[in-house]
């Protein structure tokens, strides 16, 4: 577990924190470059790379064809030969287009060839629903990546973590995914100007509490904090844990929390079935069985693709209200 984030007076939005993380990484490593669809001239359809082309030029900010498998392959080959690629896959829904490169090449290259390859490659992609982008542009597929030995996976939830995760990822010597969240682009928070890395594999307790440990994945952290605020009024105290890295997973921090609260729930935007909530719930009951006063609860999306229609999409995504209800149910009050 890490200490609370450094304070910094400057507040910037998540979108700018991403830019800064990439920018400072490119300064840190001359062998680092950014490649992806519309990352250069357009600065990304999410605006996350605005200004980088002007600063670093075409050699290091590389627009690619619409060829996700080609992009990941390019990253793997470049990383294996001494570069430090930062790849952008735009929407994480496009993972399917390059899943072979990810699963069979990137994740396995080091192991399969006897530990010879070193692959410092970072993949950035935008996940999550909430913008009426419908079924093919709104998914949360972190469970696929977490199931693949050889990869690491971060899911930054604040501007501070967005910048710090990207810098950590680019410094990392193994393939690592940083799953960004499109609905969070506008949220602001303190972000130091100098480069810093958040520790890979360390969870952070976003709010201390005593009644129930809420492991919130990605954007759900904010919903959990709202729920905690709400329930505090009724004297119910939520401890909100943001794993920040989902592979490797900081089990210790979660277990310590559950040993204190005796109750746990996990919330993620992904559909519940075979989501990483199952993994975390299984781990909690494995390691803190005797501490649990109630089953570990899981909250996730219903078993359907993400709907377009705004009221349905809203109903689809777990939110503070449902987190509060689940917490109450688990606590029986």
């Amino acid at each position: 577990m890490a200490a609370a984030t450094d304070q910094a007076t400057r507040e910037i939005p998540y979108v700018k924190a991403i830019t800064e993380g990439v920018q400072q990484s490119l300064h840190e490593f001359p062998e680092a470059f950014l490649a992806g669809e519309d990352v250069a001239v357009a600065g990304s359809v999410f605006g996350i790379y605005k200004g980088l082309l002007a600063e670093f030029g075409e050699k290091r900010i590389v627009d690619t064809p619409i060829s996700e498998a080609g992009i990941v392959g390019l990253g793997v080959g470049a990383a294996a030969t001494g570069l430090r690629p930062i790849l952008d896959i735009m929407f994480m829904d496009f993972l399917g287009e390059c899943m072979d490169e990810v699963a069979n090449q990137m994740a396995k290259m080091r192991f399969m060839f006897g530990g010879k390859a070193k692959l410092p490659v970072t993949v950035l992609m935008m996940g999550g629903a909430g913008m009426s982008m419908a079924a093919q542009h709104s998914q949360s597929l972190e469970a696929w990546l977490c199931h693949l030995p050889g990869l690491k996976v971060m899911m930054p939830t604040t501007p501070y973590d967005a910048k710090g995760s990207i810098i950590a990822a680019v410094r990392e010597e193994n393939p690592i995914f940083v799953i960004l969240n499109k609905l969070s682009l506008g949220i602001t928070g303190p972000v130091p100007e100098e480069p810093y890395a958040i520790p890979i594999g360390e969870a952070i307790i976003r709010r201390e509490g005593s009644d129930i440990s809420v492991v919130a994945i990605g954007r759900m952290v904010h919903e959990a904090l709202t729920a905690a605020e709400e329930l505090a009024k009724d004297g119910i105290s939520l401890e909100v844990i943001d794993p920040r890295t989902v592979q490797p997973f900081d089990t210790a921090t979660v277990i310590a929390s559950v040993q204190k609260t005796h109750h746990a729930m996990i919330v993620h935007e992904a559909v519940r079935f075979a989501g990483i909530g199952g993994e975390i719930a299984a781990q909690i009951q494995e390691e803190a069985f005797d501490y649990l006063d109630a089953p570990v609860a899981r909250l996730g999306a219903p078993f359907a693709p993400v709907p377009y229609s705004p009221p349905l999409e809203k109903a689809y995504m777990p939110d503070a209200k449902r987190i509060a209800a689940t917490a109450r149910e688990t606590l029986g009050r």
Partner: protein, 326 residues
């Protein structure tokens, strides 16, 4: 082009193009006014492609469409009401509000999906063409895709399979010069996507995508060839989108010059056709204006209808995830 299409065909094509243009203009306004959510990729400027191809197809023929799909749906016979309702996310929409702009579609008239995935359509169209051949019908499957999409592996696999099996299939590449904000010369080292056809063993044909009659005739030849069992064709239509990649004015990204846009707009496919129709005394300028007016009021009516339609009920969210026996 000795004879050229009949007057009836010309008027039909004109109607399709005007319907697309007006549908899109009004959709763009709805977006700009915050009436419809999500990402809207408008087809304005490319009308000649959808109209020229679709004029050859019946409801039984299949198409696959793209993220920029409204034009294809309108040209294939999609109704404004159900289309706008879908943009509004209402249960009366073609997809019951589940799909939205990028998925607006109507299976009943052979539209096997618009697709939010670039190049999602071609493999599916090849499957439909396979089915047509298997079932020994004379249906044809047409897949629309962009210059950007032609760089996806799925295009390659689909084209190779279509040619190998000699399927009744048409690959229509709408080369509008850009994939999002990346110009063609920055995404591929070739000028003509049609150059790829030879690598699959199918004919590659290039046509002026602003000239609907040229599109109509080239598509007709390719579709007839497909119906005769002689296999697929790659038809590249050189065209341009007048609006930005998303929405009307887009995100303010500087990726093409105003001059370039202006130049292409001088070749507005609807204006080109209307000039010709007036010249050939098929449709006077006044009559053309009347068509626009009629379609516009249909659009306004459909929008009002859509806007008054109910949202899908939350409790129906899971209804269509699986087929459960009617």
């Amino acid at each position: 082009m000795a004879d050229g299409p009949s007057n009836e065909v010309l008027l039909d094509i004109h109607e399709r193009m005007v319907r697309i243009r007006i549908f899109e203009e009004e959709a763009g306004k709805l977006m700009e006014n915050g009436k419809v959510p999500g990402a809207l990729h408008l087809y304005v400027g490319q009308e000649a492609v959808a109209a020229g191809v679709m004029a050859h197809l019946s409801d039984a023929d299949q198409i696959t469409s793209t993220h920029r799909g409204h034009g294809h749906v309108v040209a294939k016979g999609g109704q404004f009401k159900e289309m706008y309702a879908e943009l509004y996310g209402r249960v009366t929409g073609y997809c019951k509000g589940m799909g939205g702009s990028m998925h607006i579609s109507n299976f009943d008239i052979g539209i096997l999906g618009a697709n939010g995935i670039v190049c999602g359509g071609p493999p599916i169209a090849v499957g439909a063409a396979f089915s047509n051949k298997y079932r020994e019908t004379d249906q044809v499957a047409v897949t629309f895709f962009g210059d950007g999409a032609s760089n996806e592996g799925a295009f390659h696999e689909a084209a190779n399979m279509a040619a190998l099996y000699k399927l009744p299939c048409l690959f229509v590449c709408e080369n509008n010069g850009f994939g999002e904000y990346t110009s063609q010369k920055r995404h591929q080292a070739i000028r003509d996507v049609a150059d790829r056809a030879a690598g699959y063993g199918m004919p590659g044909v290039i046509v002026d995508g602003m000239d609907v009659i040229a599109v109509y005739e080239a598509a007709g030849e390719a579709i007839n060839r497909a119906r005769r069992g002689e296999g697929p064709t790659l038809l590249e239509c050189k065209t341009y989108r007048f609006y930005d990649h998303v929405g009307v004015r887009g995100m303010g990204i500087d990726y093409r010059s105003d001059d370039e846009v202006k130049e292409w707009k001088q070749r507005d496919p609807i204006k080109l056709l209307e000039d010709r129709l007036a010249e050939q005394d098929v449709l006077s300028n006044d009559d053309a204006a009347a068509v626009h007016e009629r379609v516009r009021s249909e659009a306004m009516e459909a929008i009002a209808w859509a806007d008054a339609s109910p949202y899908p009920a939350v409790e129906n969210l899971l209804d269509d995830v699986y087929y459960n026996g009617e």
